[in-house]
């Protein structure tokens, strides 16, 4: 299946610093339709009927989430656009912000109308500070044209913390606190930013709204698989000839993306969804990309035959140990313990029971971490043990043999 540009329809075509080029392409028509011809409930029904699910990685039903916030009691409600794209290997939202901030702002205005929010925040990661002026310019132009009279859009910059892409930590950060995850329930739809009902949607999720409203939910739902409608934007990097951003209909095969479009050769494995994403070995490269199979944030890292799986997983875990907010024990201590174990396996100091320890830790972290960081950290460990256990075992066997040559004998 070739690329299909729905979310990226205007990227490379409009001038991101000039709203008129967006208006010439029918920009803000969907917002006008949503406001003048549809009640908020009708907008929510349309989004529910489209089957749109969150594109940030968790894949929660967007319309259902909105309905919960719409119905929640509270005088003030907030919408937050999550532009804290920190998942390793993910740069699709950066590409969107660079090329088409206007569709995003239109999507924000539609979502605010649907849930009844008069104030919206764009939480932009500190690493994307270089995009701030462009984004503020686009918001300013949209305001001047009169499209933001019903909703005030403000940009809130992060300060360097992967965890703030997690919705409850993100809200703490906007409130001026340490970006630590919160216990749930209560969920943000009932008790979110400053205790008010809040919707947090990823950049790409909001980008889907103008086309859904303009062309109708049936059109959107006609694309994709049973549980995954529409398209997905992927960012591909690593051992490929052509790294970049690509948009495919949900259910497209991983091979089409990494081999046909990106020119990967001698693939050993592909990690789908960033550092906490599933590891797909080369023999499963025909796996479809969807919520039913593998997807995550859409960050895809390709590894060729020259790469060592233990080294890669060790680096993934160093990332999580660095970025764990420290609030819950399974994640704070689990990631550190995994770095220690994977480090010694990688150095050639491993022992057989290390693999059991990794499995035990993975299970505990999956079951009891407070948020997706600690849960996700265990994914590459489990997947690599599932698909590449022989590499771990060979490394241990070799290490044990080599250690018999130590002057002091076996350790």
């Amino acid at each position: 299946m070739p690329e299909q540009r729905l979310v990226l329809a205007n990227c490379g075509i409009i001038d991101p610093s000039d709203i008129d080029t967006y208006l010439d392409r029918g920009g803000f028509k969907a917002l006008e339709k949503a406001r003048s011809a549809m009640t908020p409930e009708e907008v929510i029904r349309a989004v529910k009927a489209s089957g749109l699910k969150g594109r940030g990685g968790a894949g929660f039903d967007c319309g259902l989430k909105w309905e919960l916030a719409r119905r929640a009691e509270g005088e003030e409600k907030f919408l937050i656009c999550n532009a804290d794209e920190g998942e390793v290997g993910t740069f699709k939202d950066r590409f969107i912000l660079e090329n088409d901030p206007f569709t995003l702002i239109e999507g924000i205005a539609i979502a605010a109308h649907a849930i009844g929010a008069r104030r919206a925040y764009v939480y932009l990661r500190a690493e994307y500070h270089h995009l701030l002026d462009l984004l503020l310019g686009a918001i300013g132009q949209t305001r001047e044209k009169g499209f933001l009279e019903l909703v005030d859009v403000e940009v809130c910059e992060g300060a360097g913390a992967y965890i703030c892409g997690e919705e409850s930590a993100l809200m703490n950060s906007i409130e001026g606190r340490r970006g630590e995850a919160r216990f749930r329930p209560p969920f943000p739809t009932a008790t979110g930013l400053w205790g008010c009902p809040t919707i947090i949607n990823n950049v790409e999720t909001l980008m889907n709204l103008p086309p859904i409203i303009a062309k109708g939910p049936e059109w959107f739902a006609s694309m994709g698989t049973a549980q995954s409608k529409g398209t997905k934007v992927f960012s591909v990097s690593g051992d490929v000839a052509r790294a970049g951003v690509f948009e495919l209909v949900m259910g497209s095969r991983l091979e089409e993306l990494v081999v046909d479009l990106c020119g990967a050769g001698e693939v050993k494995m592909v990690q789908v969804g960033g550092a906490g994403g599933n590891i797909v070995p080369a023999e499963m490269i025909d796996t479809p990309l969807s919520f039913e199979t593998v997807l995550g944030s859409g960050g895809i890292t390709v590894f060729d035959e020259s790469r060592c799986v233990i080294d890669i997983v060790h680096r993934n875990l160093e990332f999580f140990a660095d970025e764990s907010c420290g609030k819950c024990t399974p994640c704070r201590e689990g990631t550190e313990a995994m770095v220690e174990i994977l480090g010694r396996l990688n150095r050639g100091d491993g022992v057989e029971r290390d693999l059991d320890s990794l499995e035990d830790l993975s299970e505990v972290m999956m079951l009891s971490s407070l948020c997706g960081l600690g849960q996700g950290a265990a994914v590459p460990v489990q997947d690599s043990l599932l698909h590449f256990r022989h590499e771990y075992e060979e490394r241990i066997e070799k290490s044990l043999f080599l250690r018999t040559f130590h002057v002091d004998g076996p350790s």
């Binding site: 390793v88 409130e175 606190r177 890292t301 990332f319 907010c325």
Partner: protein, 139 residues
């Protein structure tokens, strides 16, 4: 509704860092007083975020991406080259205060790996030769 008294803290810290290059204890105490937030909490927030620094920093901050996509494109060579060029190790600041040198996690520039941020600007597709050119442009 919970109080919104902390709303200004993060932006106040960032602004103070931009003015003083880092957040000294004195700066944090001033913020604590003016926003009426306990010093411990100001310190807690200031030390949570990696882009905020409680230690002195140089005029220019180099942050090299150490995450996997850049690692696959030999970021370790980039780290060594920068260290050689400016004569300091990771976590240090040059004696003349020109550069601070740090490593950071994924900066979302994986399509131009290996990449780094210098004062927040992305510098990608790095080679030893290019690093030398890039660093010359910072005084």
């Amino acid at each position: 509704m919970p109080s919104r008294d902390r709303e200004e803290l993060l932006s106040a810290l960032k602004q103070a860092q931009a003015e003083h290059t880092h957040l000294s204890r004195k700066v944090m105490m001033e913020i604590s007083r003016s926003l009426e937030i306990p010093l411990g909490e100001v310190f807690g927030v200031a030390t949570f975020y990696s882009f905020l620094s409680s230690g002195p920093r140089g005029r220019n901050t180099i942050m090299i991406c150490k995450s996997v996509p850049c690692y696959l494109k030999n970021s370790e060579m980039i780290i060594e080259t920068v260290a050689d060029e400016i004569g300091i190790g990771v976590g240090e600041t040059t004696a003349d205060g020109r550069f601070s040198f740090e490593l950071t996690n994924c900066i979302g520039a994986c399509d131009s790996a290996p990449a780094m941020l210098v004062n927040g600007e992305v510098r990608g597709d790095l080679t030893p030769k290019r690093i030398s050119q890039v660093l010359k442009s910072y005084r």
